[in-house]
């Protein structure tokens, strides 16, 4: 099975500080990857480099065999990489439906009634159909998170990166979002999940990668990674 994403020797510096160094990561098509690591380990920086929000300083990134390092973020989205944000960023002046119409138009080239129908379908899958016409500024936290995911889905991605979509949610809300992600994966989408809620990560991931101080310290089967002493030290300190 081919790799949908190949990251080689990736490095990113901020001033003199190396946020990422020598990161190597290969992701198989359809994989469910969990990305963990303590705060400041570089998880968000890594996905920012993959999605194009940041430009990497060293290394290469290949998506479906094609190098994407020179592409701006919107072009990468068009190629099939979508992401949700840790702090939801809704288009506040638009309704929930209109929020989804943006990627539908700009990635899928779909507009008008066709777009509305597709948007409603996606919202229904997320359990947000009844909020379609509401202003996105009026949604609750969990609804905002779901809309973030819905909007990412409207870009019809092959690779979806979910950045702490469940932070701050209650138990049942976490399960809600988790079920959505598992369903999405079943339909063929590769998913990278960054999360701190360990039971969700364990339930979701086929494979776990742990980052610390900008480098991958462990990569493999979830049970093994979680038992790894280096990982323990990263989270708890020496």
């Amino acid at each position: 099975m081919e790799n949908i994403l190949e990251v080689k020797s990736l490095g990113k510096n901020f001033g003199g500080f190396a946020a990422l160094s020598e990161v190597n990561l290969s992701i198989r098509k359809g994989e469910r990857l969990g990305l963990i690591g303590p705060n400041g380990s570089g998880k968000t920086t890594l996905i920012n480099c993959i999605s194009g929000a940041l430009q990497n300083d060293q290394g290469s990134i290949h998506f479906q065999g094609e190098s994407i390092v020179h592409l701006p973020a919107h072009a990468r989205t068009r190629r099939g990489i979508a992401r949700s944000f840790q702090l939801p960023r809704p288009f506040r002046s638009m309704s929930v439906l209109e929020n989804l119409m943006v990627p539908l138009a700009y990635v899928g080239g779909v507009s008008g009634a066709k777009a509305r129908n597709q948007a409603l379908e996606i919202l229904a899958e997320m359990g947000l159909a009844d909020k379609a016409e509401s202003s996105s500024a009026s949604l609750s936290q969990v609804e905002l998170r779901k809309m973030e995911l819905a909007r990412a889905m409207a870009a019809k991605p092959q690779l979806l990166i979910s950045d702490e979509a469940m932070a701050g949610l209650s138990g049942s809300e976490v399960d809600d979002v988790l079920d959505i992600l598992i369903d999405l994966n079943k339909s063929g989408i590769t998913i990278i999940m960054i999360e701190h809620i360990m039971h969700a990560v364990m339930r979701f991931s086929e494979r776990l990668v742990c980052l610390d101080a900008g480098q991958i310290i462990c990569d493999g089967d979830p049970q093994t990674v979680v038992a790894n002493p280096q990982v323990h030290r990263a989270y708890l300190g020496d």
């Binding site: 194009g52 919107h74 989205t77 960023r89 809704p90 288009f91 506040r92 638009m94 700009y106 990635v107």
Partner: protein, 310 residues
């Protein structure tokens, strides 16, 4: 469809008025208000739709005016060519400022636009050909199309340009581009990740906004038969171009129109009844009041009133 009928009627009305024997003052005041409509609408395409604040409106007006002047001096160009040339150069200026600063945060774009005004003014003041600091008097060619005076003819021209400006704004707002710009304004990062080519859209907005600001300035040489830097690069243009959309409402094409009509009329009243310094103060105060208390402008207030009375 309704929109086009109203616009056509407005233009016909303007022409009829100009060919009649009505008082010259109407055309003078009308020109000022129409020019304000163009300025406000143009500004709003970048400021309201995309969220980038242009403080350098006088610079673009100046480019329009001085390009028109140059066309007249060099080629005896007819007024339409002057306006077109002014639009093109002002559009290029908009694009240039955009290319320079749009990768940075919004405030740097705004500061760069202020810089543009001063630099352009300095260039003009040191260019003999364009009249330098003292300005240039010019002889206007004979009037065409049966109008009695340049004031009347340019009144009609300005009406046409105001209709053009508002039509462009309306088209953009309802189009693909408008949708993208709205996304950029709400959250540029999320827009990029939704496939919106944010830089390209912002540059388009810069160019169109700049060009339209240019056409507001291009008729000035012919209108006044005299051009000089101080009044052309006047800060006044910057304040009204900002105040009118904010007062009227920045998210809709009708906002700048409403703002221009309200403020324009108010200004005429205050100037005539009280004083012209106070007139300028009124604009500033209204701007601040609206920005603080009613940031969505008159249109926002109307919307709120409609939803609360349901």
């Amino acid at each position: 469809m309704k929109y086009w009928i109203v616009s056509a009627l407005a233009l016909l009305l303007a022409i009829a008025l100009a060919l009649s024997g009505a008082n010259e003052y109407i055309f003078f005041a009308g020109f000022v208000v129409l020019q304000a409509i163009v300025l406000a609408t143009a500004w709003n395409i970048l400021g309201g739709y995309a969220g980038y604040v242009n403080f350098g409106v006088p610079g673009f007006v100046g480019v329009g005016a001085y390009t028109a002047l140059a066309m007249h001096l060099l080629f005896q160009a007819p007024i339409l060519v002057q306006i077109l040339a002014g639009a093109v150069l002002a559009g290029v200026l908009g694009l240039g400022v955009g290319l320079l600063t749009l990768r940075l945060r919004g405030i740097f774009f705004s500061i760069a636009t202020i810089a543009v005004v001063f630099i352009l003014e300095a260039i003009v003041m040191n260019t003999r050909f364009l009249g330098g600091a003292t300005g240039l008097q010019l002889t206007r060619p004979a009037l065409a199309w049966g109008f009695d005076s340049y004031t009347r003819m340019l009144f009609v021209a300005m009406t046409a340009m105001a209709i053009l400006a508002v039509s462009v704004a309306r088209y953009i707002q309802n189009s693909h581009i408008g949708q993208g710009l709205q996304a950029v304004r709400d959250s540029e990062e999320a827009a990029e990740c939704s496939g919106v080519p944010t830089l390209k859209l912002k540059l388009i907005a810069c160019a169109i906004s700049g060009a339209m600001l240019g056409i507001a300035g291009a008729p000035l040489p012919m209108y006044l038969s005299y051009v000089e830097p101080a009044s052309t690069f006047n800060l006044h243009y910057a304040v009204i171009a900002l105040a009118m959309p904010i007062i009227g409402g920045t998210s809709h094409w009708a906002g700048p129109l409403i703002g221009a009509l309200i403020l324009g009329s108010l200004q005429q009243i205050v100037t005539v009844t009280v004083s012209s310094e106070l007139n300028v103060l009124v604009v500033g105060v209204l701007l601040v009041v609206f920005v603080v208390a009613a940031p969505d402008g008159v249109i926002g207030l109307i919307k709120k009133w409609k939803t609360s009375s349901k």
